[in-house]
């Protein structure tokens, strides 16, 4: 991939030096994605989606009447590689904007570089620190954990729950979620009666669940990515715990239902609309776009569509829309236009950026789902 990009760049250089009177120069964007490594389940659909969408845009005449080109580099889910890739995109490839990185850690590591070069960066990760405090050149498309927690707590409040227990995984995703939960649960007027943690590779959470059951909460909130939460679901059924269980958006995929089997029955979780594109009411303004994307992706890659691919879609289309709005592919012009984005319908939700908000999404980015008979059911709040 990297070599390929390198040769493309070489070819482009030769072409430029050989014939100054080329057809329209391409609009060049860069992407740093975790295509391989531990976060490949995020980075791979992002890369696939971006490639698919670039082809679609070019087939429809490109951007500003020029072909669109995205140089995708793989950071292998490593911070060092992400920094090197960003350097290359900024200094050698001279891209107008950067899409990604995939993970929060990598995004935080390269933000400064993009800002120093005055090139806008549209991160595909969720960490609040990327856009809080606002860095003029950093934007993000993945919804903050805060929005997902708020969605869960709104639902819990409606049910009249008072006492909540949390069970989080001890990795980056779980720790970030735990911080937000510990802040928002008491702030929203609930009592936090248990706070347990499990390891990402643990295969038995009966110990933690036994402790939680001893604190008799009204509901349990589990925060993690597969496979841990599936074990939690199974152990809960095994221990005969009837307390309602909320999961995070980290397991909002069919994979979780497959892993948890019968134990998934009745579990509630917030998810992006793409998870249930087909099931949305026809009145939903985003439905047509979501279904079209899901269908195109599944046809091309023979893999189920995911929220993560949606992040790739959103970062690319936000950049393209900003270029068209600015009528230029100068980085500064793209940045200024991005900040003026209003009600842009993406896969992850409706984006509205402003000088004080570079995260762009509201609580409507998530809908509440219940798992019934191995499938999703949309529940009102």
């Amino acid at each position: 991939m990297r070599l390929h990009a390198f040769f493309c760049a070489l070819a482009a250089l030769f072409a430029l030096s050989a014939s100054p009177a080329q057809a329209a120069d391409p609009v060049r964007l860069g992407a740093v994605l975790s295509v391989t490594g531990p976060a490949s389940f995020l980075g791979e659909p992002e890369k696939n989606t971006i490639q698919m969408e670039v082809d679609k845009i070019n087939a429809a005449g490109g951007v500003l009447g020029r072909p669109l080109e995205v140089v995708i580099l793989d950071d292998e889910t490593g911070v060092n590689k992400a920094v090197l890739a960003t350097d290359r995109l900024l200094k050698k490839e001279r891209v107008s904007a950067i899409l990604g990185p995939t993970t929060s850690g990598n995004s935080l590591a390269v933000m400064g570089k993009a800002a120093a070069a005055k090139v806008p960066l549209i991160s595909c990760s969720a960490a609040e620190k990327i856009t809080k405090p606002v860095n003029p050149y950093s934007f993000k498309v993945a919804p903050s954990d805060r929005l997902a927690v708020a969605r869960i707590l709104a639902h819990a409040k409606k049910q009249g729950y008072k006492k909540l227990a949390i069970l989080t995984v001890s990795d980056g995703f779980g720790q970030a979620g735990r911080e937000v939960l510990k802040e928002l649960v008491p702030a929203d007027g609930f009592e936090l009666v248990a706070d347990e943690v499990f390891g990402p590779k643990d295969t038995d959470m009966t110990a933690q669940l036994t402790k939680i059951a001893g604190a008799s909460p009204d509901a349990i909130i589990c925060w993690g990515t597969n496979p841990g939460p599936a074990v939690v679901a199974k152990n809960r059924v095994q221990l005969g715990i009837k307390t309602p269980l909320y999961m995070s958006h980290g397991v909002a995929s069919k994979k979780f239902i497959e892993l948890a089997g019968e134990a998934a029955e009745g579990i509630l979780l917030p998810a992006g609309k793409i998870t249930v594109a087909e099931k949305l009411p026809d009145a939903d303004p985003e439905k047509a776009q979501l279904v079209a994307y899901a269908k195109a992706y599944e046809e091309k890659y023979h893999a189920p569509v995911s929220t993560f691919g949606g992040h790739g879609y959103d970062s690319l289309h936000l950049a393209v829309k900003a270029i068209e709005a600015a009528g230029s592919d100068k980085p500064q012009a793209i940045r200024d236009a991005l900040e003026k984005t209003k009600n842009f319908p993406g896969i992850g939700g409706i984006f509205t950026y402003s000088p004080t908000d570079h995260a762009g999404l509201g609580p409507d980015a998530f809908i509440m789902l219940r798992i019934e008979k191995g499938d999703w059911v949309i529940v009102g709040d």
């Binding site: 110990a207 074990v231 095994q238 497959e258 892993l259």
Partner: protein
Amino acid sequence: MLAGAPQYLVSGLTQGAAYGLIGLGFTMIFNTTGIINFAQGEFVMLGGMLSVAFLGLGLPLPVAVLAACLATAVVGALMERLTIRPLAGAPAINAVIITIGVSILLRGGAMLAFGKDTVALPAFSGVKPILALGAAIQPQSLWVLAVTLALLAALKLYFSATIQGKAMLACACQKKAASLVGISVARMALLSFGISGLIGAAAGAILAPITMTAYDVGMMLGLKGFAACILGGLGSPFGAAAGGLVLGVLEAFGAGYVSSGYKDAFAFIVLLLLLFVKPSGLFGKAGVDRV
């Protein structure tokens, strides 16, 4: 705060029985060939992953599990034939290093064949828990214990009542003497790898509904099984099973009362302490072989 004790005991015994089975696989091969097979954990992984794969092909669950165990037995036999036997006469340590290579190969192969996702096998007889003595027991836990006991009994019979089993024991006792009385040591080695693959795969398949499985679970399970057989005394099948149970229970109580963060550490603390105290336990001589 002894509220969770019965529960921890049940999960500990379940995990422990599986560790014991894995330890049994180590013991089989060590007894016949004098080497530690570090691909044992990969046999366990194959048992789980192949069961899921065969189930996906539409085979009924019992057939899928049996097929996975047999296929892994073949993998074990092939491994002996292709990688261990050509080393005949070389020091045991060389063969041990080869087994590490084979384990990496099997892990990579599984990743390419089955992908990187975690997969689950359905429980053999439902997930409705049985409540007893203040603990909720999964039916699958009973399966794990039953299969472990059945395999132990079958091995006991095999070693004490069949000519093949006795020949294997003879190989373990004294290779030269065994071959002098007409026992084919090479065939015994092949057989021990095959049986070891079968036992490992059985452990993997019965564990998969409880813990789920993925291409990279073999390493940790293999190390736990290894710790189990060191704990019980290398070379004794029943020691391995007992060692596994002790380890599993230690782990479960440690996770429950200390912290689940250190769960995996308990097994290795035990292993390290033992190796400090009895380094000669490994290859039977006070060597300085390092792997």
